[in-house]
């Protein structure tokens, strides 16, 4: 062997041996003085930590730890409760006055000396700035539209800044119906009465934002070292795609009640990998902001005496449904739609495919949403009972002119590409074959193309007759469900359900002050949408299938997506150390 070549091989072998030797050295064990630490994971890198720009549960989870809101959502009832402020509403329901507490502080984490510093008080001016910033079209906030109910909000957000002078734009900003009456009082004027507004005030897009920091650092203001925040935790590290770390904010007004002192969260995009780390003891939870239990592991988890005790199934404010394109034959016939909806055995789907304790659905809005008539069993009760459903389905189909599905044209069920959606589609395809005698073709499409194809103004010939979709709450009120999704003008109205009575009901409900009347209007809307017209077939209400190590003694999970109050969690630190063999 030539001497050069020999050295290459020798070096290669030395490197390999060195790697193995070094790798076998024991990993550094945490010391006893380490803060009480929770190890969770993120299912994806948060696309942003700027509350004006958030639109996904991961970003919203982080916003919840970093920034306080005027109001909050109760972990059990999901009703709006005070956070930074209590509120009063005018008799006509148009003006909300928020009285803020004066002990909330802006803080800055100095990355060089690992210290949290107080910056100043959180005031009404910060709330006004934050709201107007979200509505400013130059910010490009994806969720700005939820603030259109504030006077002048829509005018500002829909303006084209390129077409306006600075003065004109400023006039629009000044015209937004939110103002600071003094340092700790915010007044918000709405375009119409909206009983759910306190819930909107809990959303990330309406949080106080630090104007000076944003103007100093631009889009980088959310990076550790720059970030000024006010929540129970501060951000100490954000290695994109790899790791986020938080530590307790000592200046948080309720800091004495915050037990977990540090939160570490690696970004793990693969659910089975996260679960492997959970089983290896490197993660304490399988829950938001990361993944729940992987579906293929559900049977094993349920059968395992130890793991099954760590399983925790919690409600989530989302509904899974199949929509019917009501303008496309044969689904332009309500009897056909009812037949296909009635032939779905949701409970069997949950028991055999989903396995996550989901609830069969018969309304669009799920339990926990204000005004959702989930207890009204006059709304398509046959959706909850397959014995009745099967008989009804055959009846409906025969009445539509297709007894035993004879002469029924080929129809397509489409879903976006996903293993989970495919399993559900196959199960329901089989139910339709068995209960109706109809064979339905399943097709899939990539997500972005799928949503574009479904838009109400896209051509019907490109669409399937049946499509799958889900809806999750932005805020827990029927206005955000039947009102936002299926009104005739909605771009989300993929079913093309155009019904004047329905439109009138949801419009009237939006401004109705009398809560009983308002609930009745939403009840009527759900009747029209499901029971009478079956524009969609609600299939199940979501759950979260979480796991928590036994040493997490308190871990409330709010049904609203992302709204997880880590400051209320309690971890038995001694038990965790013992479980990991660190003592």
């Amino acid at each position: 062997m030539s001497s050069k070549l020999r050295w290459v091989w020798v070096l290669g072998v030395i490197v390999l041996v060195a790697m193995v030797v070094v790798a076998c050295a024991p990993a550094a064990a945490p010391t006893a003085e380490e803060p009480i630490t929770l190890d969770l994971h993120f299912g994806t890198d948060p696309p942003t930590l700027d509350p004006a720009l958030g639109s996904d549960t991961t970003s919203i989870w982080a916003d919840e730890q970093l920034y306080l809101a005027l109001t909050d959502l109760d972990d059990v009832t999901v009703e709006a409760i005070p956070e930074l402020a209590t509120w009063e509403v005018s008799a006509d329901g148009l003006v909300y006055t928020f009285s803020m507490r004066d002990d909330a502080k802006w803080v800055h984490y100095d990355i060089r000396i690992d210290t949290v510093e107080e910056v100043g008080p959180v005031t009404a001016h910060d709330v006004v700035y934050g709201t107007k910033r979200t509505l400013d079209p130059r910010t490009g906030s994806p969720y700005a539209y939820v603030l259109y109910l504030i006077e002048g909000g829509e005018d500002l957000n829909t303006a084209d800044p390129d077409e306006l002078s600075e003065e004109e734009l400023q006039a629009l900003i000044d015209g937004v119906g939110i103002k600071a009456l003094d340092d700790y009082t915010v007044e918000v004027t709405l375009t119409q009465s909206a009983a759910f507004f306190p819930a909107v005030a809990s959303m990330w897009v309406m949080r106080p934002m630090p104007q000076a920091t944003i103007e100093e650092f631009g889009e980088d203001w959310v990076m550790p070292g720059n970030l000024v925040s006010n929540g129970p935790y501060v951000l100490t590290e954000w290695s994109h795609g790899a790791m986020l770390r938080f530590k307790k904010n000592p200046y948080y007004y309720d800091a004495d009640q915050v037990q977990i002192e540090a939160i570490n969260g690696p970004v793990i995009m693969e659910t089975s990998t996260a679960f492997a780390l959970y089983e290896a003891g490197e993660l304490d939870i399988m829950a938001d902001p990361g993944w729940g239990v992987p579906l293929p592991d559900m049977d094993r988890v349920r059968a395992d005496p130890a793991l099954s005790k760590e399983l925790s199934i919690e409600p989530r404010l989302c509904t899974y449904y199949y929509g019917f394109v009501t303008t496309k034959p044969p689904f332009d016939n309500v009897l056909v739609r009812k037949a296909f909806a009635a032939a779905i055995d949701s409970q069997a789907l949950i028991d055999n495919v989903l396995k996550g304790g989901q609830l069969p659905a018969h309304t669009f809005a799920c339990p926990g949403i204000w005004g959702a008539p989930v207890d009204d069993m006059t709304i398509a009760p046959y959706l909850l009972d397959i014995a009745e459903g099967k008989a009804k389905a055959q009846e409906f189909l025969a009445e539509a002119g297709y007894p035993n599905c004879e002469g029924f044209p080929e129809v397509i069920l489409m879903h976006n590409i996903s293993e989970g959606h495919a399993l559900i589609a196959q199960a329901i395809q089989e139910m339709w074959r068995e209960n109706l005698g109809c064979t339905v073709k399943i097709e899939t499409m990539e997500w972005s193309a799928y949503l574009n194809m479904l838009l109400p103004d896209s051509p019907d010939e490109d669409k399937p007759q049946i499509y799958r979709l889900g809806w999750c709450a932005d805020y827990p009120d029927e206005a955000n469900w039947v009102g936002d999704v299926f009104n005739s003008k909605s771009t989300q109205n993929y079913a093309k359900f155009f019904n004047d009575e329905f439109d009138a009901a949801v419009e009237e409900a939006l401004g109705e002050q009398d809560l009983e009347k308002r609930a009745a209007l939403y009840n009527r809307a759900e009747h029209l949408l499901i029971d009478e017209n079956m524009a969609i077939a609600p299939i199940y209400y979501y759950t979260r299938v979480n796991m928590f190590k036994p040493y997490l003694t308190e871990h409330p999970v709010n049904p609203a997506g992302g709204t997880v109050h880590m400051d209320k969690w309690v971890l038995d630190w001694e038990a965790k150390k013992a479980a990991l063999g660190l003592e």
Binding site: G12, R138, T158, I268, Q492
Partner: protein, 323 residues
Amino acid sequence: MLRYIVRRLLVSIPVLIALTFVVFALMRAIPGGPFDFVGDKSLPASVVANLERKYHLDEPLLKQYGRYLWDLLHLDMGPSMRERGRMVNDIVRDNFPVSFQLGAMSVALAVVMGIPLGILAALKQNSWIDYLATFIAVIGVAIPALVLAPFLIWIVGVRLGWLPAALWGAERPFYLGFIPKPTPDFFRHAILPVVTLGTGFTAAIGRLTRAALLQVIREDYIRTARAKGLRERAVVVRHALKNSLIPVVTVIGPLFAAVVTGTFVVEQMFAIPGMGKYYVTAISQRDYPVIMGVTLIYAVLLVAANLLVDMTYAWLDPRIRYQ
């Protein structure tokens, strides 16, 4: 040689510009845009308009392309449209070094293991050693990372607990921007993903080395070397192996470019913060600048790797000369 290199580099510039145009045209041809939806919801037209205006998507396509090229000339690959506030340059700076570390170690493993495996198999053709080496190579090629990764994670990481089941142990900052500190934690985390990614390459390189060596060893000049009375070892190493490495090097170039720019499956399975995910998610999210950026990085590395391969030919085979 220098003239050849300069000429090749100059030729690669129009190739890369053409590539940006093709990718730009292709990604705009597919339906959908970066701001069509959040989660399961589509956005109101007014909100989409604000976002499109912010990222200049409301401008004519040619103007957008011109703007992109102009920024590129200033080494600015633009902002990510889905990771708000993050530039594509930031993504490359943060994620490429990690992919490079994983990819380079995997290729190194493949070379160090694969070439001796191939030599052994060729020299002991049709013996049990050959059959064993071929068996290992076939297994290595046949088991995809998608299967090997969960197997290693479950057995070595979770059940035996010998090595970390996932995550990447490199501490930032990196030397020269991409070389990690050689800490035990780094190597402990690297072993499973490197083995997962490197196994297939080891097998492929082993099989290629065997085939090439078997062919070369039957050449006249090898017979001449043997006739001169050279020892078998000298014949194999000095005369046969060097020439038989040409097809191996040809494969290693593009392979290197492909793996150091990110491997989706291995990075995803081991939760490694590399560039691999962007090749998949950027397309599904229609994050146009990121699609352009990662494609461009891959193309530049491919051009560079191919040039290096061509230069290596001259060293391996003195008959090859560059004009």
